[in-house]
Symmetry: D2
């Protein structure tokens, strides 16, 4: 199978190249880059020398050549390519924000400053967070039957319908997966969820900018776009969808406060999520006044909730609910498609603290895109994604 | 004047050495180290070669030689030295947690696992956060009159009473200063304050440990002691004291949730603080549902609160309330005694977000200790502390 | 096939675990650790959760269970395990220095302070730098015929003789590969070779130590063991072997000066190697006095030598001689088994400068060990090692 | 006294601002910036808030207002300002390369691609490496007498002649100071000196560029401009000048090979310098063949040479020859004007290895410029520069 990547020389695009080059069902990569058209990818990224070699083409040529197209482009420029892919009848997996808001064009426009170019494409698009929308992705790809056929035929790809994937943002992925079980299983009480998160510098992309200039960002932690980051509405929508899946919809859509920070590391998103605890889940016996170290009951309640989380994600190939005593950290998921989640209660016993960690370039971008491709084509969902997280 | 430092070879002790070596009223340093007794400080820290030279003595010798004693020791071992200093009649500035809890021995014991050795010393001790307790520090040092004498006599030190300072923790300093104006001026409404904070690795001290081994902590962000960090009760107490100072005590003591993270940087504490906003301060016109970018009213309300903060800290030599458009970050206060504070509202309009940054080794430890000494002796509070934050 | 790893919880051991877990011919890992016997590897390294799971056994049990044994132990303790493996009749791949000096026990003892335990084992051992000793490794493994059988039988392993591999050090690998073509092809003139090299902190191992404590080594470059590093004799021996392979042995064994530096990065060795240029290779027309920018002739001579290097390493699966304009750097080979080499001349025209970069944990340790296993068993030499270098 | 800085918003300019703001003889700073004219410096660098405040003017206004002018501009644009300062009769301290080559315009033009604008200014200029040229600087400033007058008058500045300082490059400073005693005292034998050096990223300036984008340079060491760096001729000239000072000029001008590397740190230059040892200095008793650990004689010879170095730099306020057992490293001189030098011999006994470390922004740029100002005006040479190196 031939996979096409438009925007192959940006960081997310190049990571897609790297991951797909090791994918068992991809035979050939077809790459496009506006900035480097005509150059070879291994000239732009000498890391690829001897492993990956391809001339960078025009986007149109890539769409024409491919069985599936990934777009790793700036927001607001990829819709024409999505349309072309759909017209050709092949899936289009978009890593920008353009297809993350479904038919809520107003939210998209409010935050991204542009209207939809082809609003009708949203009938074919789905927000590609597999742990939330796997079934919908499969349905849209019309794979219920085709996948079986593909499986019978060995590795040969089925022919999915021309679905469009709005591949999630990095912060929304980490944060939503951390909150999901609490909302669906009624652990969350009413109120506002706070996600305080940190990102590695690759999250800012490949273009040199003052904020990402080594002397300006090394050896420092800095919040940015406080109260104004574009991932806020995306996370907020996810939380509402999740709450709607709670038993009888009894958990209402929570408010959301989200603050991103830049940390001096290459990769990783860490989201520390504060979720109000349902009354029924609160440990008792906590006196008011100056807090005390966590009691045995707090530990017990934490274990209880951890079990709910573990159970909830049973069978999910990329979510690891960590055992007691292990706290999620970005270097535990480095270069893997894992989302690590650790479960905590604080000393007041009123709030669940979930720590969620992903590699922003993998589960937060390119890896999740490949996961979506695997779902669409009926492949093993871990195909090409079974990396063991690098230790250092 | 002779300043003594017990525990001079730990990180906080060595930073004290460095700061005091440039202090205009300190003529001589007398240093003690259990681990390196008999060695020279410049052998332990070759950075000091040609600038600072001293043999490391026994603590008793240092107390005997000094006009003021700093202790940068592990928790639970410094009380006998405090007693000796008091008996000699000189101030004792303690950087451990031993004197941070005043007469709430129960809280101290619950978190630090030890009883007070000399409970009676708390009559002479004060929690040394100058922005909260400056008057009390001055009173205890009985400097109302003496300072005037000292000032008349030029730089020569007055003879303060043998006050003991419980020098604050690094997280409590950053977090408390960030919350202080909101609590005192009634900007905070009822509810729980969440402080999500990150620290540089020097916060873990000089002793090599797996968590601080370069390959384990570089290129990663990792929470630790979630819901169980010893600075929680210290911050909580501060918030209660501040709320008690609100107009008519109308702000009640808030709950506190505090989560520390380790970040791959040498210095710095960044505390991102979420404070429920009093109804009267909330911007109107925010629709429920998917959030929208901040409105003009949010910006206006933010400006309003920033003005309160600016006014509140007017005259404080080390607190900088940043102008609109500048967000606090650890590299803005590097190697200075500043606490930088930036003021934000999030898109829901219900919560104030304060970002507070300090250098953990300066305002979070050694610098604040020197600031306390300056207050005790009636010196200019910025003496020895007027460093311009290093740019990189 | 079952691969055993003794010392599986050190950094090199754990990297072996990670690489071998993805090796197409390894079905099972059998792991030993003295420090963590009885624990699970995924408890020691939570990165492995959900991917790799094994109880840490005694070394003896691992040898008994395995078809090949890797030892990632401190110097001087592994010989008894080597003996046991040999007696069982299986290959033993040793990552320590114990088998790197063949029958020159004097050199080993002078630098490592210990005699050989079982000197006779050196009859079965070979220094495992494949680019230097591939044939010898194959001969010792007696695979000339067996490999063919193994290949016919598909993936099933041949039965090599019980060869012992002295897996090279990280600095020696990078430096030797950089100097090899110059020595063999007569580009090097008589004189001393200087290798000035830098290593990432994982090179210091997993044990916390002051030198590798984050605040002591971050944001700094520091030489160590200047003129006294144990890799000096290993590199020196390699250079002599290579010179002996020169046409008619006309290049004499060069002197060697080697200086290691610690750099604030996790992985990587960069060796900048200064090699005196044979008279015949020197560009002409360089005036004495203040140097001038490189002339066209310098560029032409550089291209010429680069072609020799490229030709020399033609067919080597893991050596990349970089094209003109690309300089070797550690982040170009990150997490791969590549050795990148770039070729330069300086302005005087007397000295060849070779820059050689490897990942110290892969080509400098675990990856090269796996490469040696592949050679021994007649597998494709890149099996399990075809990672594309991570971009960040 | 009023100090003017042209190019105040670049990194070297801003570091000058920071250092001069604490200088005891500077009352006022007058700052110019083309990019930010009309803005305030504390808006460009919020680190300065509350400490330093000034509007950025035109260069002409700064020259008109100042008693001394520093220029931290790109190469090739500052000569008109030098001319204006000279015409006004005030010293001009230039941090670019424009005045580093004296009357060797050919060397300057060959490497920097431009002719001199006002060649006649070189009659008034001197290469400002105080340890090499202090007397010449003093003479040009005509301070032999004036300084005495200034000293008598306390801190009030003398009126030096309008000397121009070509402030040295960062690599040349570290490397030249490391080689100086060996050349002058006849420790160096004939042959080529190799300087293998690493720089922090601030050396690349404030302008964001791909090479200095965090994800491209963090966690990696990378050589650059191998055999083609502009500091090569500057170092080479210095070495020749130093050799000419040897006893009877018996040491001839050495050849030079210089290779710079970029290291993932903010500040610092480390230069590891290989100097051929004069026959008379070589330890005996070293057998050919595989090297052995350093003998006692090597240690003794090293001590001997270290004593020469220590003696040579006796009285120099900013050069620290480190005691045996301490190796120079960039984090030992952080934020200070020190040059740390450690002395080593390698196992062959033929080559002296000098490790020289400076802070590239201080002794390598702004600090040295202030040192030159101090010399010109007859101030204590350490005025404003007596920082204790930051520990972290």
């Amino acid at each position: 199978m031939i996979a096409g990547i438009i925007g192959a020389t940006g960081y997310a695009g190049a990571e897609l190249v790297r991951i797909l080059s090791g994918h068992p069902h991809i035979d050939t990569l077809s790459l496009a880059s506006v900035s480097y058209e005509g150059d070879r990818i291994e000239k732009v990224y000498p890391n690829f020398l001897g492993r990956i070699s391809a001339v960078l083409e025009k986007p149109e040529a890539v769409i024409a050549a491919s069985d599936v197209v990934f777009a790793a482009l700036p927001n607001g420029v990829g819709e024409p390519y999505a349309k072309a892919a759909v017209e050709k009848g092949i899936p289009f997996i978009d890593l920008s924000a353009d297809f993350r808001f479904d038919d809520d064009e107003a939210a998209y426009t409010a935050w991204y400053g542009k209207p939809y170019v082809h609003p009708e494409l949203r009938k074919l698009s789905v927000y590609g967070l597999p742990e939330l929308n796997r079934k919908r992705i499969q349905e849209l790809a019309a794979l219920a039957s085709v996948a079986g056929v593909a499986a019978q035929a060995g590795n040969s790809a089925g022919k999915p319908a021309p679905v469009i994937i709005g591949n999630p943002g990095c912060y929304p992925t980490a944060t939503s997966l951390g909150a999901f079980p609490a909302l669906v299983r009624g652990i969350a009480g009413p109120g506002t969820i706070i996600a305080d998160a940190a990102s590695g510098v690759t999250g800012g992309g490949r273009e040199p900018q003052p904020s990402f200039h080594f002397p300006e960002c090394s050896d420092s932690v800095a919040p940015y776009k406080v109260g104004a980051h574009r991932h806020t509405p995306e996370i907020s929508r996810n939380l509402a969808f999740m709450a709607a899946q709670s038993d009888g919809g009894k958990v209402s859509a929570p408010g959301l406060i989200f603050t991103p920070h830049l940390a001096p590391m290459n990769r990783g998103i860490l989201s520390t999520i504060y979720i109000p605890l349902a009354e029924s889940r609160r440990p008792g016996g906590i006196s008011p006044g100056v807090p005390r170290p966590p009691s045995k009951e707090i530990a017990a309640r934490t274990d209880e909730i951890r079990r709910v989380y573990t159970d909830f994600y049973k069978g999910e190939p990329f979510v690891r609910v960590l055992p007691a005593g292990v706290i999620a950290a970005t270097n535990r998921v480095r270069q893997s498609n894992f989302c690590d989640i650790s479960v905590h209660l604080e000393t007041l016993g009123t709030t669940l603290i979930i720590v969620s960690a992903i590699d922003n370039m993998v589960k937060g971008a390119a890896g999740q895109a490949v996961q979506n491709m695997n779902i669409i084509f009926g492949y093993d969902e871990t195909a090409g994604l079974n990396t063991v997280p690098a230790l250092f």
